[in-house]
């Protein structure tokens, strides 16, 4: 690891200001960034911690849904969202191991937008709104492919607001080594329709499976997905699974998520 300076501001405004310095980078739970720095693949000269900002932390139920501060850890979401949005809490509780969950945050996860991460499926599948220091971004516009988001230079995620569905479930199939999602499917049934978001499978990052959404919106049962096929084009092929294997998982896990959401 190279040397760096470290600041821990108490407000969003101070954080944004600190981040405008040359070579500055936001640090949240550090579960992605610090390993990268240790391997000398990243060398920010200034780390701006976001975990000392009170308004970016915590889980709170409001009129427009469940709001989660960007610097809220996975462990906190697993605990505090359980009463309001059990499927989201379960997703958070299934990320990594206790050490990762006690440091890693939702903001860090969706800012990073790893193609195998869990939160992107939860955020997109819920049709949540990503809140930044500048604007509110619909999940459908926020995720823009592997490791790529709508965030602009100097923009940080400050929170995520989730509309709470009637029924929902996330089913994750572990990549055997990392235990990130080899494929994960988040299914959410709202009054006005069903959303299905898939992570881990596509070369284009998290995506919505439109055909399944349509079928499930008229019949919210695993059998509704049975007749659908998932194309293996654009699916990830690696050591842990071929594109065809991942395409199969998308369908199998969607059925299981629907069954679990009943």
């Amino acid at each position: 690891m190279h040397n760096f300076d470290f600041v821990k501001p108490a407000t969003i405004a101070d954080a944004v200001k600190a981040l405008s310095a040359e070579g500055a980078q936001a640090l949240s739970g550090g579960q992605t960034l610090t390993p990268t720095m240790k391997q000398r693949l990243a060398a920010p000269s200034l780390l701006v911690s976001l975990t000392g900002i009170a308004e970016m932390k915590g889980v709170c139920m409001g009129d427009d849904g469940l709001s989660v501060g960007a610097a809220t850890t996975h462990a906190t979401v697993a605990k505090e969202a359980a009463a309001h949005y059990p499927a989201l809490a379960a997703l958070a509780g299934g990320i990594g191991d206790p050490a990762v969950r006690n440091r890693g945050t939702i903001g860090g996860s969706i800012a990073n937008n790893d193609p195998a991460a869990c939160y992107p499926a939860g955020v997109l599948g819920s049709g949540a709104t990503v809140v930044t220091n500048r604007r509110r971004i619909a999940a459908d516009d926020y995720f823009q492919g592997m490791f790529s988001t709508a965030l602009e230079e100097g923009e940080i995620v400050t929170g995520v607001t989730f509309p709470v569905p009637e029924k929902a479930a996330y089913v994750k199939f572990n990549q055997p080594a990392s235990r990130f999602a080899l494929t994960g499917v988040f299914v959410a049934k709202f009054k006005d329709g069903v959303r299905v978001a898939v992570t881990g499978a596509s070369n284009n990052g998290v995506f919505r499976w439109a055909e399944a959404e349509k079928a499930l919106s008229s019949n919210f049962a695993a059998s509704a997905v049975e007749g659908l096929t998932v194309s293996a084009d654009d699916m990830i092929g690696d050591l842990h699974g071929t594109p065809a294997y991942r395409a199969n998982l998308v369908k199998v896990l969607t059925k299981r998520a629907v069954a679990a959401a009943q």
Binding site: M1, F173, P176, A177, S178, G241, T242, Y245
Partner: protein
């Protein structure tokens, strides 16, 4: 009542007090005055010609003290292979030099070609990066696939070795014609091609070494993560650096696991010693995890075609194998013995097979060196045999339990001479098979299968009856077979004046629990409390000699040496007692810690004898020496042959291909068991590694020789929830006939016997589920592979 101390008691592991309370002292924990840091510059291409290394910029960087390249070591010796193997035609193996730092060419990703020593670790890292940037390495086509390597002479790992072949070994070559004839006339022949997947050892503690040179005395000290400090001393001293053995001490302090990878001497150890000599300061190095992945000696990596000739009712008539064994870019110390004498000699398994022929071609590739890893050769043999027995049963529609029972060597046939050169001294393979069938509740399998089916899962059961050979020996035999070292061991038992004891053993404990078990044995033999016995290991300046711990040899060989030394102590104690009690030496008996004159109540305690040995006020010094300390060397008469039967039940999710281990049952015969708790722990660990190999661990190089699985993001190690609660039994005992403790060794058994049980269970589950087209799935049997097999 189970015993609560001494031999056979489950004494708690005394070493765990320091390990679990954070008070172990590992190499990297040691801080030394004036210490400096070495960082290695490693090749990022699999194969390349070193055109130039410009050290000028790096050497001027802050804190840099010295830079080394292959040029600095070109005139010192190479790190040798421990066994010289001859090819079938009698020619000796090809043995390229393995230099301290690569010179001329780099031969695998991670191959170190330079090193920087600096005041701090970060300074050394920075300079190493600079040096890498200033090195001109011309990339050459990588040789990765073994079949291509032997077929293509134009591309060579070592320029002087045209077909990348180290040797082409036939075992036993003279039997080849008879074996071929048996196949020609056989009623049935089963054929299977399989891969025994390459494994990264993944010891919890990465390799670490500290070199110290004292200019005042000319003494060197190497503190290092070794399973085998005397071997390292011998190799560094006599072969590589030419330091006199008496001027070099090698210390292996607490070591966090090895599984074979720390038996060997590595170039980093020589480098830190040479650098400390140059600088007159301690030089230290600890591998980063990536370095462990890239440079620790890997395990397994065989591609095998095995054939089995049998009658239609499953009597095995002959076995024939052809194996390509990867040795990687250089010969690691045991790399040539592992695929040959630890593999080919086991190819009859526990069966009465009249004809066996094994062919092994070892191949150089641009990958990390491959050497012995927990089980070493025997897992490869066992996997091949147990998979093909199962396949034969399927082809002939026979019961795998009955076919094994029919072919197992019978209890009254021991000692049994196999057609592959071993003499199994004792065993009762039926007994362990019967025990297994009972413990695993085989008769109720169908009920469990029905319950699995109700959950949408396919249940299968897989059997493996295995044998292995431990405590590799004797020296006169291994000498004939090509070993360049002897395979005995040594122990010193030092009785202190106050009656407590220090035992210096040539074994090295890196997790096994020797400090507990060896103390149990010595305490029992001498009738004293375990707490009065201290076990000293891992320091060449304290221990008479030793060959370290690997091959499940510690108890069978080192424990035997210790027992011999204790017997000498008792003999000397009798002499002292005879003098003190004014009796004839022949009338003295020793029991329960007391020396008595037979038939009288005259006696001296062990403590009294010890005290008198060091306060010999009235000794007849012409006939009785003061002191009570004895050393013994022990060279075993034969290998030991642990054996057993394993049963694995799996549940397969046919939609995802995921395999869950539902249960795993072991019935082992380890001979006499010294500490049942530790033995059980060894089996748990071994089976856990076997399950890892069978289901998870995949060492994958791409066609350019880049290691794709160089971190835990892609290399899957078994975790707690990947393994079941095991049922482990070792109540079937046929004591080893030729060592004083009657022990056979238990350290590797789990890793040897389990992989075929797992894979057999998966194939069984798929067949029961109607997927009868699946004949074999290569390890690791990952979800994706199972799914592809079902749908393929």
């Amino acid at each position: 009542m189970p015993k609560d101390h001494g031999i056979g008691a489950s004494s708690k592991r005394r070493e765990d007090v320091r390990f679990l309370s954070g008070r172990g002292v590992y190499t990297d924990d040691m801080a030394l005055h004036g210490q400096t840091y070495a960082v290695f510059v490693r090749s990022n291409v699999a194969h390349g010609r070193i055109k130039s290394i410009d050290t000028s910029a790096a050497s001027k960087m802050p804190g840099v003290l010295a830079i080394f390249t292959g040029e600095d070591f070109k005139d010192v010796g190479g790190n040798p292979a421990g066994w010289l193997i001859n090819s079938r035609d009698g020619t000796p193996m090809r043995e390229p030099k393995r230099p301290v730092l690569a010179h001329g060419k780099v031969r695998h990703v991670g191959d170190a070609y330079a090193a920087v020593v600096a005041e701090t670790y970060n300074q050394a890292k920075d300079a190493a990066q600079q040096l890498a940037d200033d090195s001109d390495i011309e990339e050459l086509p990588a040789i990765v696939d073994m079949k291509k390597a032997v077929a293509d002479s134009s591309n060579r790992v070592h320029d002087e070795i045209p077909d990348n072949l180290c040797f082409d070994w036939g075992w036993i070559e003279d039997n080849r014609a008879a074996v071929d004839a048996a196949f020609k006339s056989a009623p049935h022949v089963t054929t299977l091609e399989l891969v025994n997947n390459r494994l990264v050892p993944n010891a919890m503690e990465p390799r670490s070494s500290i070199g110290e040179y004292n200019p005042g005395t000319g003494d060197y000290k190497l503190t290092t993560t070794s399973q085998n400090p005397h071997l390292t001393r011998l190799l560094v001293a006599a072969f590589v650096l030419g330091i006199p053995e008496n001027k070099l001490t090698v210390v292996a302090p607490d070591v966090g696991g090895g599984f074979g990878s720390k038996i060997y001497h590595y170039g980093e150890e020589a480098l830190v010693l040479a650098a400390s000599r140059k600088l007159g300061r301690p030089v230290r190095w600890t591998a980063e995890r990536t370095e462990s992945f890239l440079t620790d000696a890997h395990g397994r990596d065989h591609v095998t075609k095995i054939e089995m000739a049998s009658t239609k009712d499953g009597e095995i008539l002959a076995i024939r194998t052809e194996t390509l064994a990867n040795v990687g870019a250089y010969l690691s110390n045991f790399s040539t013995a592992t695929p040959t004498f630890l593999h080919g000699t086991l190819m009859a398994g526990p069966y009465k097979v009249p004809h066996v022929y094994v062919n092994v071609k070892t191949v150089f590739t641009n990958t990390a060196p491959v050497d012995a890893y927990r089980g070493a050769g025997r897992p490869e043999a066992t996997f091949s045999i147990e998979r093909i027995v199962d396949k034969m049963c399927r082809e002939l529609n026979l019961d795998p339990f009955e076919v094994r029972r029919k072919n197992l060597i019978q209890p009254d046939q021991f000692p049994y001479t196999t057609p592959v050169g071993l003499v199994y001294d004792t065993g009762n393979y039926q007994a362990t098979l019967d025990k297994l069938i009972e413990l695993a509740d085989v008769k109720n399998f169908d009920k469990r299968a029905a319950a699995s089916k109700a959950k949408g899962k396919l249940r299968g059961m897989g059997l493996s009856t295995w044998i292995e050979a431990c405590g590799i020996a004797p020296s006169n035999l291994v000498g004939v077979l090509g070993s360049r070292v002897g395979l005995y061991d040594a122990a010193t038992v030092r009785v202190n004046a106050t009656g407590n004891i220090s035992v210096m053993t040539g074994a090295h404990s890196h997790g096994q629990g020797h400090e507990t078990v060896f103390a149990q044995i010595v305490a029992e033999k001498l009738g004293i409390p375990e707490s009065s016995v201290e076990i000293v290991h891992g320091d060449t300046s304290k221990i008479p000699f030793g060959m370290g711990s690997y091959g499940s040899r510690s108890l069978a060989v080192c424990g035997a040496a210790m027992t011999k030394a204790v017997d000498k102590i008792i003999a000397k104690g009798k002499k002292i007692a005879a003098h003190m009690l004014e009796a004839a030496e022949g009338d003295i008996t020793f029991e329960d810690g007391k020396f008595s004159v037979a038939g009288t109540d005259k006696a001296k305690t062990f403590g009294e004898i010890a005290f008198s040995a060091y306060v010999p006020h009235n000794y007849p010094l012409e006939t009785l020496e003061p002191g009570l300390e004895e050393t013994a060397f022990y060279d075993p008469a034969n290998f030991t042959y642990p054996a057993g039967a394993y049963l694995c039940e799996v549940e397969v999710d046919p939609e995802t291909g995921k395999v869950d281990i539902a249960s795993f049952t072991c019935a082992d015969d380890f001979g006499h068991v010294m500490n049942p708790m530790i033995v059980e722990g060894q089996v748990h660990g071994g089976v856990g590694q076997g399950i890892g190999q069978a289901l998870l661990e995949n060492t994958s190089y791409d066609e350019n020789g880049q290691l794709l699985t160089a971190s835990y993001m892609d290399y899957a190690m078994p975790r707690a929830d990947d393994v079941p609660f095991y049922t482990v039994d070792h109540s079937c005992v046929t004591p080893c006939t030729h060592n004083p403790l009657g022990v056979k060794g238990c350290g590797e058994a789990g890793a040897i016997g389990s992989p075929p049980a797992v894979v057999n269970a998966v194939i069984d589950a798929l067949h029961r589920g109607g997927h009868t087209h699946v004949k074999h799935i290569d390890m690791p049997v990952s979800p994706a592979r199972v799914w592809s097999a079902i749908n393929g």
